[in-house]
Every structure is written in structure tokens, then in C-alpha cells.
């Protein structure tokens, strides 16, 4: 079960011309506990707020201080238009939820909860992919280390692999790290068994 989201004390910036929409949105965000700032100028890259809502009808490239869809903060698009170009702009900025304009107050909270959850999920996926890529990059080292153990200890590859894995587990290191040490000679060859 996901816990009840609580935005108390969070900072939100609304990038939108001040109008009735920003007024309603501000009221609603304050109810959720946000400190709210409304501006219609590019967002500075330093001191990013905790959550950003952007007018995707009028937004332009450069309004947000990042260049790809990897938004460093949860981003919600405010969208009245149905034009595919505007939807694409919102996605290119990394929006993880849309709130339709004209604004229904009941649409705000669910969109924020979802934007936050998807943002966190995306970040977790990015981290996981980076981790897996690193492991794939190191895979030849594991293979080489297995060969080396297998040769030196006169074992088949499967047994050599098991030795390497046990060694990594005992030292609480990844197999790639242990393999790198063995190949580099920084590590004595682990004993069998």
C-alpha cells in the first residue's frame, strides 16, 4: 500500500502567466501545504523547487533549465490545447502528468501524486540502467577472472565461477569489482572450496 502523500512544506513553482488558472491552482496547492511561486520567466537552474507546473500551451524551449526529457524535478504540464506539438513539448520537457485547462480543482491532487510517483520511478529506472550498464561493461573482466582461476586451480569454468562468486559475497563486493582486482593482480587468487 502506498502511503498518503504529504506535500506539507514543499515548494512549487508555477510557470504560467498570472490569471484565473494560476489563482485557482495556487489556492489548491496551498491547501496541500505547498509554498507557491508563480512566474512567467525562465526558471533558474540553481535552487530548483520541489515540484514544477508549466504552461504547456505557451511554454517555449529554454523556459525550463534542462535540455532533455530527464527532468530533475517532478514536472506537471498544464494543457488546454490538443495539438500534438504541445503534448510533445510537454513530454520533451519530462512532464510526468498533465492537468487539463480549464482547471477542475479535483484534478490537481491526483496529478501531483502521479507526477511524483512517475518521476521517482523514472529516476530509479535511470539509476538501475546506469548500474546494469556498468556491470555489462565489466562483464569481460569477470570472464577473464574465471579463466584465470580455472587455469590456475585446474577447475572447470562452472567451479571457477562459483569460487569467484563466493569471494565477492564474502567481501560484500560485486563480482565485477573482485574480478577487476584479480586481473589487475591486486588480489591473490581465491582458494578453491
Amino acid at each position: 500500500m502506498r502511503e498518503t502523500p504529504n506535500f506539507a512544506g514543499w515548494r512549487a513553482t508555477i510557470l504560467h502567466r498570472e490569471d484565473a488558472t494560476t489563482e485557482r491552482l495556487t489556492r489548491q496547492l496551498k491547501l496541500f501545504g505547498f509554498h507557491v511561486l508563480v512566474q512567467w520567466t525562465p526558471l533558474a537552474a540553481d535552487h530548483l523547487p520541489d515540484l514544477i507546473l508549466v504552461d504547456a500551451d505557451q511554454g517555449w524551449t529554454g523556459l525550463l533549465p534542462w535540455t532533455d526529457e530527464r527532468a530533475p524535478r517532478p514536472l506537471v504540464a498544464l494543457l488546454g490545447s490538443e495539438a500534438p506539438g504541445r503534448v510533445a513539448w510537454a513530454m520533451d520537457q519530462g512532464a510526468s502528468a498533465i492537468i487539463a485547462k480549464p482547471l477542475a480543482s479535483s484534478a490537481v491532487y491526483p496529478a501531483l501524486v502521479m507526477a511524483l510517483a512517475i518521476h521517482r520511478e523514472r529516476q530509479a529506472i535511470v539509476e538501475k540502467i546506469a548500474h546494469l550498464e556498468e556491470r555489462v561493461r565489466m562483464r569481460p573482466l569477470v570472464h577473464a577472472a574465471v579463466q584465470k582461476i580455472s587455469h590456475a586451480r585446474k577447475l572447470d569454468e562452472e567451479q571457477a565461477y562459483r569460487i569467484l562468486r563466493n569471494c565477492a559475497m564474502q567481501r560484500r563486493l560485486s563480482m565485477e569489482q573482485v574480478a577487476a582486482s584479480i586481473i589487475g593482480g591486486a588480489e591473490p587468487l581465491p582458494e578453491a572450496g
Binding site: 506535500f7 506539507a8 485557482r24 489556492r27 491547501l31 480543482s105 479535483s106
Partner: protein, 387 residues
């Protein structure tokens, strides 16, 4: 000339829509709401003749008829204010129409929170006004291992979800969680599971006949096994009404607990006067439920605010309403301009043999926090135990 005066007074009368189902699974509550609303309307008519004209619509617990009824009120009858709906299902159905016509819905039942709509005034209470103080009372006294039951829609789901979160935060665990459709009365499997798992208490978010069936079955269980008597393992509700105790059967639910912002037994000057008025009209044996009192209060608030404002423009009426507390049968009622929720007292009632609730704990008016933003920084409870 007589015609002209009549014509003008009719033109001046502001129509208020009153939308309650008096039949179906929550018909008992609906009939009490309607009685409360009628009483308020008659009082207003006596004091301000010709100013307010009610338009009653009964959707008979049919969700499509709620929509149709609200449309008739807003579009055909020209109502800008609707007092009513009981379930969250019906409220959610009606709100988009109220928004479209820029009207105001006066919702006066306890609900599961997470809403604060500009076109709604909430006077029935959200979880920080009922569920949270209720758990504050129950956990130290009965234990942290409850069993949760609920009606199979958003009220039951969300109340139990929140309860589970609060219980687990308190280091407790939920021993079971089951749902029943609104009109389902087959509670045997649930009760068998309760008997087997032996919870600390039973949080009951069932509505109507399923809730009555649960109370009857737990009564029978308690007779077989004292561990399930109310003093050991109470059935605790947030929306059980005096009028429903008759449906359950007098004496059947004696000792079980319920949280509410109002009980017939509240001792206050406002309530004493109100009870005298209700007795005069409905007979001395009539017990006033919280939905009766809340519907009465909501209709009066609405009508009086319209009369004071000199217009039924919802924005003007809301502004006036939120400007200062208004005296109601629930006590002086302050409505927050931001959340549009009323601050409400908390009472915990224990069902007695006479079809009423003995109040065993109370807390003065609690400001509504519909999105529970203050939950993690909440002050320790200051329950006043009265017996």
C-alpha cells in the same frame, strides 16, 4: 395589485434544491436528512415568508437519477444551491454539474476527505475530524490489531486505507480487511474470520443494511464468546445514526461505539432548544441523528446566508458565510475560506438500550484538514473524557 405583489414575492423567492434519497440502502439516513431540511425550511418560511422556496428531488439511491435530479434543479428550476447527497459516489457525480452551472453544493455528511472544491461547502467532517481522534482514543485502550470492514466504494476503501496507515505507523497491524456491496447482508464469512483472528476492535465502515447485519452477528458472537462483547472488542463506526439503531434493533448494538460531530445527547443550550422544537413537531420519542441535525443546519446556513447577502450568487454567499462563525445547532460554526470545510467538534458515543448514544469522550471544534497536511506534525490529542 394583489397579483403584482404576489408576482414580485414569487420572483423574489430563492429556490434551494434539496437532494436526498429516502429509499434504498441508506434511505433511513435520507429520510432523516429530509426531515431535518423540511424543519429548517418551515422555520425560515415562518421568519422570512416568501424568501426561500425549496425544491425537493428524491433520486431513490439511483446514481443516474442524482445526475438527472441535479440537472433539473440547476438548469430547469434555476437553483444555484443544492443541499444534499449522502454518499461520496453521489457527491462526485453531482459536483461537475454544480461546477458547470457555477452553483454551490452543501454537503453535510462525514466523508473520507481529499477534496476541497470551490463549488462545495463541507459541513460533515473529514478524517482528521472523525477517524484520527477516534483511533487516538481506541488504540491505547483496546489495542493496535483491529479488523477493518467497509462498504465496497470509495468511503469504505479510503477510510480503511487511512486507518491501516495510521495503525501501522503506530506499530500495530491489521488482522483483516473485507468489503461488502451496499445492500449485501451476508456477513457470516466476515464474522467467522473475526472470530478466528480475534482483533482488538472492529472498524466498521459499512453503510446501511450490511452494517446492521454486522452488528446483529457480532451481538450473537459476543453471547457465545465474551471476548467479542463491546467492552472487549467494540464495533466502531464513523457514520452510524440514531435513526439506524431502530433498524438494527434496540439493544442489539448496545455498548458499540460511534464518532460524530453531533449526537441527540449533546448537552448544550442550542441542542436543548433544538430538541424541544423537534419534539413539538415529531413527538417526544424522536431521536435526532447527526444527519438530521446537519441537514437542518446546512439548510438554515444556506437560506440565512442568502437572505443576509440579498442574493443567491454563490460567490457572495460563500464569502459572507466564511467571514464569521454562525450560530447553529452544532454550536458556533466556522467555515474555512480556504478549505471550505466547517470546523467541527468530535464526540464519541456509546450506544445505549434506548436507541441513543451516551457521549464518553469529546473534543472541541477541530479545524478540517482535508488533505491531512498537518498529520505528521499533529499536536498530541487533548481528549476530554467525560465518563
Amino acid at each position: 395589485m394583489g397579483f403584482l405583489v404576489f408576482g414580485r414575492s414569487m420572483r423574489d423567492a430563492v429556490k434551494i434544491g434539496i437532494l436526498y434519497s429516502t429509499t434504498g440502502p441508506y434511505g433511513t439516513m435520507g429520510r432523516d436528512c429530509r426531515d431535518g431540511a423540511e424543519l429548517a425550511i418551515d422555520e425560515i418560511a415562518a421568519r422570512h415568508p416568501g424568501r426561500i422556496e425549496p425544491v425537493f428531488v428524491d433520486p431513490h439511491a439511483n446514481i443516474d437519477q442524482y445526475l438527472e435530479g441535479a440537472r433539473t434543479l440547476l438548469r430547469d428550476q434555476g437553483c444555484r444551491h443544492i443541499v444534499g447527497t449522502i454518499t461520496s459516489l453521489a457527491r462526485k457525480e453531482v459536483i461537475p454539474l454544480v461546477e458547470k452551472h457555477d452553483g454551490l453544493l452543501w454537503y453535510m455528511c462525514p466523508y473520507e476527505g481529499f477534496e476541497a472544491n470551490d463549488n462545495v461547502i463541507y459541513t460533515g467532517g473529514c478524517p482528521n475530524q472523525h477517524l484520527l481522534p477516534l483511533l487516538d482514543y481506541l488504540l491505547p485502550r483496546f489495542g493496535r490489531r483491529p479488523y477493518l470492514v467497509g462498504a465496497n466504494y470509495v468511503w469504505g476503501w479510503e477510510m480503511n486505507r487511512l486507518a491501516r496507515e495510521l495503525i501501522e505507523e503506530a506499530g500495530g497491524s491489521v488482522l483483516g480487511e473485507r468489503y461488502l456491496p451496499l445492500e449485501e447482508t451476508a456477513v457470516e464469512r466476515i464474522v467467522a474470520e473475526i472470530e478466528q483472528r480475534r482483533p482488538s476492535f472492529i472498524l466498521n465502515n459499512l453503510v446501511g443494511p450490511s452494517s446492521y447485519a454486522l452488528h446483529a452477528a457480532i451481538r450473537a458472537l459476543g453471547e457465545r464468546d465474551p471476548a467479542f462483547r463491546p467492552e472487549n472488542c467494540p464495533v466502531v463506526s464513523c457514520d452510524l445514526q440514531e435513526c439506524e439503531l431502530i433498524d438494527i434493533g434496540l439493544g442489539v448494538a448496545t455498548g458499540q461505539l460511534c464518532a460524530a460531530a453531533y449526537f441527540d445527547t449533546v448537552s448544550s443550550a442550542e441542542n436543548a432548544a433544538f430538541k424541544a422544537e423537534v419534539s413539538a413537531r415529531f413527538g417526544a420519542s424522536r431521536r435526532i441523528s447527526s444527519v438530521f441535525a446537519s441537514a437542518y443546519a446546512a439548510v438554515k446556513l444556506c437560506a440565512e446566508a442568502i437572505i443576509d447577502a440579498g442574493t443567491d450568487d454563490p460567490a457572495v454567499v460563500s464569502r459572507l458565510l466564511c467571514a464569521a462563525p454562525r450560530s447553529t445547532v452544532l454550536g458556533p460554526l466556522r467555515i474555512d475560506a480556504e478549505t471550505r470545510h466547517a470546523a467541527l467538534p468530535f464526540h464519541l458515543g456509546r450506544i445505549n438500550d434506548e436507541g441513543g448514544f451516551d457521549i464518553i469522550a469529546s473534543e472541541p471544534a477541530i479545524v478540517a484538514d482535508p488533505y491531512l497536511t498537518g498529520r505528521r506534525t499533529r499536536k498530541p490529542p487533548q481528549l476530554r473524557i467525560v465518563s
